[in-house]
């Protein structure tokens, strides 16, 4: 197993956000984590990238226990997290944002190569590279956030709501690129979505999180699209 989350519990003060969540991701997969607002989806990703500390449980990545790893070392292990709200650096230029994504890489040639690759995926970033991050539109900021995460040459990419606030056309575009990255760069993808329809179309497998627990674990994401419970709860059927 590539990523193995075992009985993960996360609490914010007295509030339990995650109550014993177990899930796994195999190498090369695209796995979606669905759930309503406040179900605890972001807490799962935050615990993996160690922005949040797990109360109990274990997170194993590539055979090593990373549950109590320092946050800055998670990237070095090959996990890039594109966080909730994008969190791009507004006052830094697009180029500087991307360079920070490659902060853990020392090889200047590798950084240049990654930069070129990201500019081919997102040509708009190339034309805006000297602009401050804060001046980008929402869609461009999302591309920058994904591009920045890819700059670290990750093996596992964590995406928190890549479609949030984007026009339908852009959502398709972002998901096409996610699939391409997964396919061509062999990057495993674990993504959170509220847009269940789009996520299930592109994911190999899916989990559904309800009130801090995994309620559905499906080996076939597309089948979930026909699940009456899913249709009722997340697809507006």
């Amino acid at each position: 197993m590539f990523l193995d989350v075992r009985k993960l519990c996360v609490a914010y003060g007295a509030i339990d956000a995650l109550k014993s969540v177990s899930l796994h991701i195999n190498e090369g997969e695209i796995v979606a984590l669905l759930g309503a607002n406040g179900a605890g989806k972001s807490s799962v990703l935050d615990a993996i990238s160690r922005i949040t500390t797990a109360k109990s449980g274990k997170i194993i990545f590539n055979g090593t226990d990373i549950t109590n790893e320092k946050p800055e070392n998670i990237v070095r292990k090959g996990i890039a997290h594109c966080p909730e709200g994008r969190k791009i650096f507004f006052d830094l230029t697009v180029l500087e944002n991307l360079q920070l994504g490659a902060y853990t890489i020392n090889d200047q040639y590798a950084i240049e190569a990654n930069l070129e690759k990201i500019f081919t995926y997102f040509p708009v970033l190339k034309s805006r590279r000297s602009q401050r991050g804060g001046t980008l539109s929402g869609g461009e900021q999302q591309m920058l956030a994904v591009g920045r995460a890819l700059m670290s040459s990750p093996k596992l990419l964590l995406l928190d709501e890549p479609s949030l606030g984007l026009a339908p056309k852009l959502i398709d575009h972002i998901f096409d690129i996610i699939r391409e990255i997964n396919h061509k760069e062999k990057v495993t993808v674990f993504l959170i979505e509220q847009n269940a329809n789009e996520a299930l179309l592109h994911a190999d497998r899916a989990y559904v999180l309800e009130n801090g627990r995994i309620s559905i674990n499906s080996d076939n994401a597309e089948e979930l699209l026909k699940d009456p419970h899913i249709i009722k709860a997340y697809l507006g059927g």
């Binding site: 922005i51 070392n73 969190k87 830094l92 500087e96 360079q99 920070l100 902060y103 853990t104």
Partner: protein, 305 residues
């Protein structure tokens, strides 16, 4: 009117020292939003350390060698005390809120002042100027500009400040570490996601601030007395300089330093009793806060969406 040039030169020279100290305030504030009230004490300790090295140096050391050595060791002392203060006093309470950090900074300031008086029995020190060619004598030499004597050593202040500011600017704007600094300053969580070790960035920021405060201490030590309270007023004025220029902004800190230095000398130029000199900085502060609260070169604080 004939004194104008004297007071202007004098103001520029002292302004350069305020600028050096203000840079430390602005760097630290930029990164952890802490007004480091102990910063003036880093400057005081730098001055003492420089004097300590002077005592250790063989008496025949030429000034051309000993002056740079003193400046260097003051800078190193500034680094050590700044990094120690951060590690021992600020790091443990970093998550306890800004008020706790501010009170701790004031506490550290008192502690260092009293520690210095305890060790030195509050005797003011001065580089002895009895022998011709000694540091003390060289530093007291002056040339007449606009009807007043400016000490030669003061002409070192401005170029030194400019060079250090340019180096700092290069570090912050052009290097990987500088990018990391700016990232931490904007969003520490996102910076950690990039693999940036936030603690290390904060430590190095204190290092840079301490270095410049220590050097400023050496400079003032050359021309004035060294005593435990010497960091208080310059520290306060440099803080005002940082706020006037726009706290968090490097060019702002330098501009603010020169403004405060010039304004307080203009008070003397206008024949206002010198007792009011220290008031000038506060008047400038109040005016700037009324007209442009973010400081002259400061950017508007953006609300997080």
């Amino acid at each position: 009117m004939d004194n104008f040039l004297f007071f202007l030169t004098s103001g520029l020279c002292i302004g350069a020292v305020y600028a050096l100290i203000a840079l430390g305030y602005t760097l630290v504030y930029g990164i952890i939003k802490l007004i480091n009230f102990a910063h003036g004490e880093f400057y005081m300790i730098g001055a003492y350390a420089g004097f300590g090295i002077y005592l250790v140096l063989p008496s025949g050391t030429p000034a051309i060698l000993s002056i740079p050595l003193i400046i260097l060791s003051s800078g190193i002392a500034g680094i050590i005390i700044a990094v120690l203060t951060e590690q021992i006093a600020y790091k443990p309470i970093r998550k306890s809120g800004r008020l706790a950090a501010l009170l701790t900074a004031i506490g550290v300031s008192f502690l260092l002042q009293n520690l210095a008086s305890f060790i030195n029995k509050a005797n003011p020190l001065q580089y002895p100027s009895d022998k011709s060619g000694s540091i003390g004598e060289i530093c007291q030499r002056s040339i007449v500009i606009g009807g007043g004597g400016i000490k030669i050593i003061q002409f070192v202040y401005i170029p030194l400040t400019i060079v250090l500011t340019l180096i700092l600017w290069h570090i912050v704007m052009k290097t990987n570490f500088g990018r990391a600094m700016r990232a931490v300053s904007q969003d520490p969580d996102a910076a950690a996601l990039m693999g940036i070790d936030i603690n290390s960035v904060i430590r190095k920021t204190f290092l840079l601030g301490g270095l410049m405060a220590g050097i400023a201490g050496a400079l003032i030590g050359f021309q004035s007395v060294i005593e435990p309270m010497m960091g208080f007023m310059p520290g306060l004025k440099a803080f005002i300089a940082a706020v006037v220029g726009g706290i968090g902004s490097i060019p702002g800190a330098v501009l603010g330093g020169f403004i405060i230095g010039i304004v307080e000398n203009m008070v003397l130029f206008c024949n206002i009793p010198s007792g009011y000199k220290d008031v000038a900085a506060f008047v400038v502060l109040i005016l700037v806060l009324l007209i442009r609260p973010q400081g002259i070169l400061g950017s508007n604080v953006r609300e997080k969406v």
